[in-house]
Symmetry: C2
Subunit: 130 residues, 2 copies
């Protein structure tokens, strides 16, 4: 167990695979959702808005974990566990558009919810996988 | 929010896509792992063993949630939230082999950990997705 992503698992986060983010709802249930993301040093960055359930979950409990697997080789996966370190306003949706480009989404103009857009910065505390 | 999987999301669970299962560790952190599964009525069935962390998590806290998306159309996903309803011994690994066949795994003989194999039966309490 380490906080560094091993070299052999690195392609899982460098290639534009969707991740699945786990958070904990205020009632204690787990919530899991597919997400765009980008790893930045010892953080994972997500685009999100302040009006959605995941944001409310993280305000209540900052615990979060991301699983990423390669659908072409699904035995290979990486799990990044951590906590919400920071929320950065993104009112021009610049980071949203950066992730859209990473994931091959054709959009080049800010989405309708741009005013509510934020960057969630998750600090990586534990890395596992195979 | 319903406990029934809508017809338009049904292919996500009928086709052999991997799911990502969220559980809660005894220290309160979320854990997310890719999993084989099969939906059976109002339950989701997983093959697992009694010696692994996810099993310990579920003994401590029966909350669990599964996210499934189609890598070819990743905007389409389904989230099934629920609790561990039942653990069924599978010492011949019959259910493991059934899932192996569903997912195109070539194995036809029980794995080395067959003696510890169990079927986790998750009761579906909430369905969401798009």
């Amino acid at each position: 167990m380490s906080t560094t992503i091993p070299e052999e698992l690195r392609p899982l986060v460098d290639e534009p695979h969707y991740g699945v983010l786990g958070t904990i709802r205020p009632d204690g249930a787990v919530q899991v959702n597919p997400m765009w993301f980008r790893v930045d040093g010892d953080h994972v960055l997500f685009t999100h808005t302040t009006t959605r359930q995941k944001y409310r979950n993280l305000q209540h409990n900052p615990t979060m974990s991301l699983a990423v697997f390669d659908p072409a080789q699904p035995y290979r996966y990486v799990e990044l566990r951590g906590v919400l370190d920071d929320v950065v306003p993104d009112p021009q949706a610049a980071f949203f558009l950066e992730l859209a480009a990473r994931y091959g989404d054709a959009r080049t103009t800010p989405p309708e919810d741009a005013a509510d857009r934020v960057i969630l910065r998750m600090r990586i505390d534990r890395v596992s996988g195979q």
